[in-house]
Amino acid sequence: MSPNLTLLLISGVLFACGIYLLLERSLTRVLLGLLMLTNGVNLLLLTTGGYAGLAPFFSKGTDPRSYSDPLPQAFVLTSIVISFAVTGFMLALIYRTWQLGRADEVADDLEDRRVAAQSGWVPEEDADVPADLSEFPSLVEAAEADRAALAAAPHAADLPDDAVLGDAVPLAAGPHDEEEPE
């Protein structure tokens, strides 16, 4: 027994187009991509049932092997129902996106952008503790210390952690001095 090549080829084409569309930023195309993928999977499920035999209604005296396998068809039916519901929901989401922002695109996560852009240096946690150890440093002191450290080392903006330690700059310069003679 050999699988149905036509179905497999169509399913492959659907997969390829579906994945291409899924990678787009426009939501409508993403939805179309999902639909194509779903249908590709449905065809794949259908091919797993083997060749198309008789309709699987029981009649006496028929060889059981001549029926087609009804189980994959039941799978496909379930999968179609589910993808129908999800498509409806996605359409509602897309419409709502359009209502809210007049845009049909996958939006950026702003909080994510903010976290990515923030400096690794947090005044409250990373600033020098004052010698008298009285309390946490105030934000003003910490900001001043930061500014002073920045002024001392122009490159320190790239390495904020080093900038916090007042003596980090001469230390970091140390190895270079040793390398130069070599």
């Binding site: 779903t38 189980l71 929901f89 989401l93």
Partner: protein
């Protein structure tokens, strides 16, 4: 009659409740009573199920008396019933919290009235996934809970939620499609989707096909469980949802993925074919997750990252395929469902009390609300694994198992696990130091609510009560850790043995057959009949035969049992 044969009710009751609450859309009060009643009833039923299989005993419930492997089979064993009880207990607490929040905010007939039906469908989906005895029913369970979760995540349809919802829906649909493709290929290769039957038949496939199917299933479940390279959707989508929704998602949805991974690793593909890759994944999940958590300032996002990170522990226990490792995973899943949910509920309370969940803008909460501080402190320490709490016990078991295994990879994960639990402590302590310990004056631009005297409506008693109940459940897991760990161990033994599961569904002959395949060196018994990779292994498709027709003694009968 065995109580376990009532297992389908764990799925049917919530669906029935969902239908009733949907009819009662305009009657808020009746909706609340019905949904809380239904969840409580389901919980009681599941406690009964757990009691009936406690200490050993697996029960298969064939729906409509179809003889397995035909038809749908629900399987109750110790692992699934433990998961059911913990998940329903957590859902009940979250439901009380959500109802109380709704009453406090006085939202009349908004879109919020869809909350109850969706929430109940979610519970039905989770129960179905835990009980499913065949892959396709597992898929249907996943789809039920996912579809409900789409609605819950986008409640209200605000810009942020719609944005998060789109990502979440697309990622979930893709993961479901991967799972469905895996089901298709499994069916093509074996002619069955019944998990017990697969346990017998997958062992007869060539090793290449086995690895292909194994990896496909694990990727499908891995997206749902938010395992490292597949975890980026989670911190992106969860934090925007309402607090109770995020809490129940964090507690249950990823754990359903972990549950499915456990079943795949123990029942379908026993042995250690993919143990090392799984350990690498576990290590990366732990480390990348917690590093993400340390960078966050929003408490809900921070908690989402710790959620991802701690999935790594569960995968680690699973990857060792030893009794103690798997038992620790079972225990850790119970612990983590409870603790992570209570932390998200506390984050919701913080947001209500202080007007923000950003730790930069918070301060002085310990003085403002000592009760809230206590409710945060206990689960936070529990999550970080401070002795003697349950998080410590779970991690201890995992570390013991790792050291006992002793391979370099396992030891590396053990070291990473200890480091990650310290980093979790750091992340939790950062929240504690900023939000609770420092004075409100130190906060950047504190919300007026933080400086104002307490309003009655900001922390309704039932919301605090539900959170406290869940924190109490977390402590109970510590107090009763002895018996719970014993039952986890028994569950792990059962799962690694496979015989109880297979013989409950298919009878003891099938179990013997499965064990005999396992003892053979893999693939050597088969002539290399199947093309590895590329070609679809349809060669073994039943082509005309009824599914499962190869199994001795099972003929396609129409329901009527002799």
């Amino acid at each position: 009659m065995n109580l376990a044969s009532l297992a389908p009710l764990a799925v049917v009751l919530p669906i029935f409740g969902a239908a009733v609450t949907f009819l009662l859309l305009r009657q808020e009060r009746a909706q609340r009573i019905v949904s809380i009643g239904v969840v409580a009833l389901t919980l009681a039923l599941e406690v009964g199920l757990l009691a009936s299989v406690w200490g050993g005993g697996t029960v298969a419930v064939p729906i409509g008396e179809w003889i397995p492997p035909l038809g749908i089979t629900l399987v109750v064993d110790q692992f699934s019933s433990l998961m059911l009880v913990v998940s329903s207990a957590v859902s009940l607490a979250v439901l009380v919290y959500a109802v109380s929040q709704g009453i406090a905010d006085g939202d009349k007939d908004g879109p919020i009235s869809v909350f109850h039906p969706s929430f109940l469908i979610l519970i039905a989906g989770v129960s179905d996934a835990f009980l499913a005895g065949d892959l396709f029913n597992l898929y249907v369970g996943f789809e039920m809970l996912l579809t409900a979760s789409y609605v819950l995540l986008t409640l209200g349809g605000t810009t942020a939620r719609i944005r998060a919802g789109v990502t979440y829906v697309v990622v979930s649909v893709v993961s479901s499609l991967l799972f469905l493709i895996a089901i298709a290929i499994v069916y093509a290769a074996t002619g069955t989707v019944n998990m017990a039957d697969l346990a017998v038949k997958l062992g007869q496939l060539s090793p290449e096909t086995q690895v292909l199917l194994h990896v496909m299933l694990l990727i499908g479940f891995g997206i749902k469980a938010a395992v490292f390279p597949l975890s980026f959707w989670l911190p992106d989508s969860y934090p925007t949802a309402p607090a109770p929704v995020t809490a129940v998602f964090a507690g249950l949805l990823t754990k359903v993925g972990v549950y499915a991974m456990v079943r795949t690793e123990t029942l379908l593909f026993p042995g250690d074919a993919l143990n090392v890759p799984l350990m690498v994944v576990a290590l990366l999940t732990m480390v990348v997750g917690i590093l993400g958590a340390l960078a966050q300032t929003d408490i809900k996002r921070l908690l989402s990252f710790t959620l991802v990170s701690h999935i790594g522990y569960m995968v680690f226990g699973l990857a060792m395929s030893s009794v103690i490792g798997l038992a620790s995973t079972v225990f850790y899943v119970m612990h983590h469902i409870t603790v992570q949910t209570s932390l998200f509920l506390v984050a919701g309370l913080i947001e209500r009390r202080a007007g923000t969940a950003s730790i930069d803008r918070l301060g002085g909460l310990a003085k403002l609300s000592p009760l809230l501080a206590l409710l945060y402190f206990i689960p936070a320490m529990n999550l970080a694994g401070i002795p003697p709490l349950s998080g410590f016990l779970g991690k201890l078991g995992l570390i013991q198992a790792g050291v006992a295994l002793g391979t370099p990879m396992a030891l590396a994960v053990v070291v990473a696990g200890v480091a990650v639990s310290l980093l979790t402590l750091l992340a939790m302590a950062r929240v504690w130091g900023r939000a609770f310990w420092r004075t409100a004056d130190d906060a950047d631009n504190p919300d007026p609510a933080l400086l104002a005297p307490a309003r009655r409506a900001s922390m309704p008693a039932a919301m605090v009560g539900a959170t406290a109940g869940l924190v109490g459940l977390g402590l109970a897991l510590t107090v009763f850790a002895g018996p719970l760990f014993q039952v986890s161990q028994a569950a792990a033994k059962e799962m690694l043995d496979r015989t109880p599961y297979i013989s409950a569904v298919l009878g003891s002959d099938a179990a013997k057959l499965a064990a005999s395949h396992l003892n053979q060196p893999q693939g050597s018994a088969l002539p290399g009949g199947q093309a590895p990779g590329g070609a679809l292994p349809v060669g073994q498709a039943p082509g005309g035969q009824a599914p499962g027709g190869q199994t001795p003694g099972s003929q396609p009968q129409t329901g009527a049992k002799p």
